[in-house]
Amino acid sequence: MPFPRTHLEPEHEMFREQVRRYLKTNMSAKVPKWREQGHVDREDFEAFGENGWLCLWADEEFGGLGISDIRYDQVLQEETIRWTDIGFFHNAHSMLVGPYLDRFANPEQKKSFLPGAVSGKTIMAIAMTEPDTGSDLAAIRTRAEDCGDHYLLNGAKTYISNGIIGDLFVVAAKTGDKRGQIGLFVVTADMAGFSRGRHLKKMGLPVQDTAEIHFENVKVPKENLLGDPAKGFSYMAECLAVERTMSAISSLSHAQAAFDVTLEFIKDRRVFDRPVGSFQNTRFIMADLRSRLDSAQAYLDQCVLLANDDKLTPEDAASAKLLCSELQGEVVDAGLQFHGGAGYMDEYEISHMFRDARIARIYAGTSEIMKEIIGRGLGLGEKDLR
């Protein structure tokens, strides 16, 4: 019997049923095609939009449902990962990029960008990371020069999720010479000087298109500046707690799915005349993982409730992200191991899960950055404690 999740109400479970039915019927079968071509299709975003599942939080005037309860996003993400592929990044669109528009866009900006975001006609991405900066966002070099009625944007970004199919990019760029003086700009793919670089090949997440993008004298009209041109850094900090909670949700959903795939396999696969799962070593490791999955789920669900009330601290979001991504890594590793040679072969789902999972301890802030955040919260920062 699974550990009961008390934070979900009947309406969330009804929503889950609805999502599940749709995904199983309409999308599960597309996964091989997505993996082959290296991205989902525009129609997949649009289908989500038609169902009302993009940017749930958006106001009805923009076509949204005005639902800010992120338990719905959690359910959506859990079902997406279980029935399609963890690389379908509609959640990044809705909950990683979307919140910048929700929180910092002015009414005109909302009017112009949100309808497309909600319908899925406009696929969104965020462009922060640059070659050589990694987690050190204050060190970015992309510049936005104030030219009166517009900004002139120059620079390059990399590791951009939805980078190939994206239409709208929230771009972080330096607006002055001080470290951390950063503004956020809405750049659309049709602007002159915007170009996409390589579609990056990577170990896993084949469904997720990760790309480089370049800005060469892109004229970004002032109307596309989000909020204060010097406050981008604190805007990003503000959105990170939700981003990391979402990342933790993905990791844990993926870990739960990998656990289930493995559990099924080891009950079935026999060796030395017994099911692999009946060996004590297998049983003990699965038991240990089960208890940690349940514990992480209980914690994460609490974090989700706190995030709903805007009470989730950056430290707690970092804890959730750290825990869930590390656990995901352990589950897929053990799962592959228990598959034996089969686990190494592409035809077994666990092999994809293993490859897909490795980025989770890195993106949305590495485990090391998470520990810095939590550790500083304990008063152990090098600068605070002398």
């Binding site: 990371t129 050589d132 900066t133 990694g134 987690s135 050190d136 060190a139 590791y159 990056l200 090949k201 990577k202 170990m203 896993g204 696969r269 026999r270 060796v271 030395f272 005349d273 060996f279 070593n281 592959l336 191991q337 034996g340 040679g341 089969a342 686990g343 190494y344 072969m345 592409d346 035809e347 092999s351 293993f354 490859r355 490795r358 980025i359 301890r361 890195i362 993106y363 590495t366 485990s367 090391e368 520990k371």
Partner: protein, 385 residues
């Protein structure tokens, strides 16, 4: 870093030769071979020309009559980490020894010359769909038809399986006794012998891993290796060397991962410092260095024992277990220290991470190694009843 004392001067000269050859002939083809899913036949012949194949073979077969295990260690160390699909160790130290030590003179005369030139690429076919490490569960059957045997069944996860033209196949020779297994040399072109797919996998992209099918394959009696009932025993006799050559490859790959990571973390900067200078990076690398050195010490010790002919199956299992687990930890931590770059194909660490994942599985999983070691300690119910 541990000062390895196992090599003499002539080995280091050999290492230089190998390195120069590999830089010129092997490494430049990596990308193509990964796209092809296997290395080229030419590189096998080139290795043969260099005298790198089955050095222990008699000079009359073109070999060098040199059985020093350390030359094959050097091949594993120099080539494995950078071109993981070129399975020289499998040819030289896993299948080759069957031909060298257990085959008939006639078989050796017939096969060894081409094995030494690289015209014949060796493979061994034990695993079947659904059996994994459990050899007693194999279903491929060989039926004695007087002057030949008839082979039926299928094998999977066969390394070198796509390129091989001489494969040693394990098959049950008595339907009533699961432990009666024979070993048969199956040659390319024998009617009924077919290759299946070259399997796609997490890593080792340039290594051909294939399914093999046997449909009424007539295998002449001359192609039976030793006692057709005694294949198990033969297979057991070569296990120590098989695990040891694996272990060398695992530590070597881990060492290579360590070394490219050292470069990366001293070059890449964050928050105004080389990322290698953060205490966390320093401590992780220090711990990995220590584990690597313990792995080298254990491996070299086992090699010395092996050269003295006294390496036990349990110690070989310890070496295989320990080195593959260390390798796994090293590539994981090293990838982490690369950050997002570590996930991208263009960074070598991403390939090493994927390649390494099979080490804890093939040639006997870590679990099987623990069974062997633990039973060697007497911790086995069956031994007590």
């Amino acid at each position: 870093m541990l000062n390895r004392t196992i090599y003499d001067e002539e080995h280091e000269i050999f290492r230089k030769t190998v390195r120069a050859w590999a830089e010129k002939e092997v490494f430049p083809h990596g990308e193509d071979w990964r796209a092809d899913g296997c290395v080229s036949r030419d590189i096998w012949k080139s290795a043969g020309e260099q005298g790198f194949l089955c050095m222990y073979a008699d000079e009359k077969f073109g070999g060098l009559g040199l059985s020093d295990f350390r030359y094959d260690m050097i091949l594993a160390e120099e080539i494995g980490p950078r071109e993981p699909g070129f399975f020289l160790g499998l040819h030289n130290r896993i299948v080759g020894p069957y031909l060298q030590n257990f085959a008939s003179d006639e078989q050796r005369e017939r096969f060894m010359p081409e094995v030494v030139t690289g015209d014949k690429i060796l493979a061994i076919a034990m695993t079947e769909p659904g059996t994994g490490s459990d050899l007693a569960g194999i279903k491929t059957r060989a039926v004695d038809e007087g002057d030949h045997w008839v082979l039926n069944g299928s094998k999977t996860y066969i390394s070198n399986g796509f390129l091989t033209n001489l494969v040693l196949v394990a098959a049950r020779t008595n339907p009533d006794a699961t432990h009666e297994v024979g070993l048969f040399w199956v040659e390319e072109g024998m009617p009924g012998f077919e290759r299946g797919r070259n399997l796609k996998k997490v890593g080792l992209e340039s290594q051909d891993t294939a399914e093999l099918f046997f449909d009424d394959v007539k295998v002449p009696k001359e192609n039976v290796l030793g006692d057709p009932k005694g294949g198990f025993k033969t297979m057991m006799m070569n296990l120590a060397e098989e695990r040891l050559i694996g272990a060398v490859g695992f530590v070597a790959r881990a060492e290579h991962a360590f070394s490219i990571t050292m470069e990366f973390i001293m070059e890449r900067r964050a928050f105004g410092r080389a990322i290698g200078t953060f205490q966390n990076s320093r401590f992780k690398m220090a711990s990995l260095r220590t584990e690597l050195d313990a792995a080298w010490a254990l491996t070299d010790h086992c090699v010395r024992e092996h050269m003295e002919g006294r390496l036990s199956a349990e110690m070989a299992a310890e070496a295989k277990l320990y080195t593959s687990e260390v390798e796994g930890r090293v590539v994981d931590e090293c990838l982490q220290l690369h950050g997002g770059a570590g996930y991208m194909d263009e960074y070598e660490i991403s390939r090493l991470y994927r390649d390494a994942r099979i080490s804890r599985i093939y040639a006997g999983t870590s679990e099987i190694m623990r069974e062997i070691i633990g039973r060697g300690l007497g911790l086995d119910e069956r031994q007590r009843n």
